[in-house]
Chain length 207, copies 2
Amino acid sequence: MAERPPAPDNRAEIIEAAARAFMVNGYAGSSIDMVAEELGCTKGRIYYQFKGKADLFFDVQKEAMRMNIALVEPIATGKGSPRKRLQEMTERQVQLIMEQLPFQRVLVQGVEMHLEGSTTPSQRKVLDFLIAQRDRLEQLFVQVVKEGVRDGEFRKVDPRIFGKVLMGSIVWLTMWYKPRPDDTPAKRRKLARELADYMLNGLTGKA
Amino acid sequence: MAERPPAPDNRAEIIEAAARAFMVNGYAGSSIDMVAEELGCTKGRIYYQFKGKADLFFDVQKEAMRMNIALVEPIATGKGSPRKRLQEMTERQVQLIMEQLPFQRVLVQGVEMHLEGSTTPSQRKVLDFLIAQRDRLEQLFVQVVKEGVRDGEFRKVDPRIFGKVLMGSIVWLTMWYKPRPDDTPAKRRKLARELADYMLNGLTGKA
DNA sequence: GTCTATACTAGGATAGAC
DNA sequence: GTCTATCCTAGTATAGAC
């Protein structure tokens, strides 16, 4: 008894399909029908679980953001020199993007999406939440940069501005990284290390 | 005689309005009516000059890309050490983005837009052209990095990968830079210098 | 050339069957 | 809970007046 399949996370399955669909065609370019097809069902199922397309889109972003913060925050507030921590945060974030491309790509779409006009008050709340989380994630990086500058481990940069430069390099990865068939975890790890090095040390610094 | 107002560049005016509209609402989120309203006319005028929305979108991108290459190419292929040239290219490109935000923002939208499916053969040609130009611009940066590494002026980075990191920082500027009322050319120049410094020298290098 | 109709369609959303 | 059938709006595009 009580054999109910462990709550197959019906919603989660839909969210994943949506992430894939939005990644390929963008928000406006994807129809609910496309998401349904990606899933092998009809929109009835989706509309039973979600109020509409925007809600689905937001849920993809919320999940992506949850992953990011869960990954980065412990490192940012953990032990080690600012330099060590920042390196680790960047490297892991980069790796996560490679591993969860659909979610991460949709998250970026959300940044430049302008749903402000066409949102209900309740959606507006979710949007505000996402913006706050976005800022929070960025601040985790900025904070560690600030510490490193204070300790003299980094040169005197403006942490807020440097944070923008760093986020840009990271986010842009979602646009150019294409998973390869011969793409092993080890290769990804190596690339992540290289990227983090370039992002933090530029052309003239030392790894 | 021959007082015909100097070809008021009817199309150019429309393209500028379209750039502003697309910047605010994105491609799919903007209607031709919105562009017309931005211009203070009706869509009749737009459809007389352009075949449709996609063509308009492409023309905004073509113009943006033209500006970029016209700015960066002479510096890339000009005189000076790789380091000096790369600094100059980056700084000027960043400044251009601040000065031409609508065009530059739309250009980025185009990168992640997936119009492949819904394009006529003739539009497909334009899209291919844009992709080629995008690659060409990036290669201008990559080439100079390569020279600098070869000359030992830079440390041994993979120029192709470093190019991605650099482009990301530059492109991301379109997402966070907000022109201020008290924004003078001098202030923009200063910010551009700072950004270029961070992008090329990171946290541990030397300006 | 630009405007004012209007045709046409894609796609978001809902109702009701199962 | 998922499917099928349908409604309905938004927005592209065109035709014809001016």
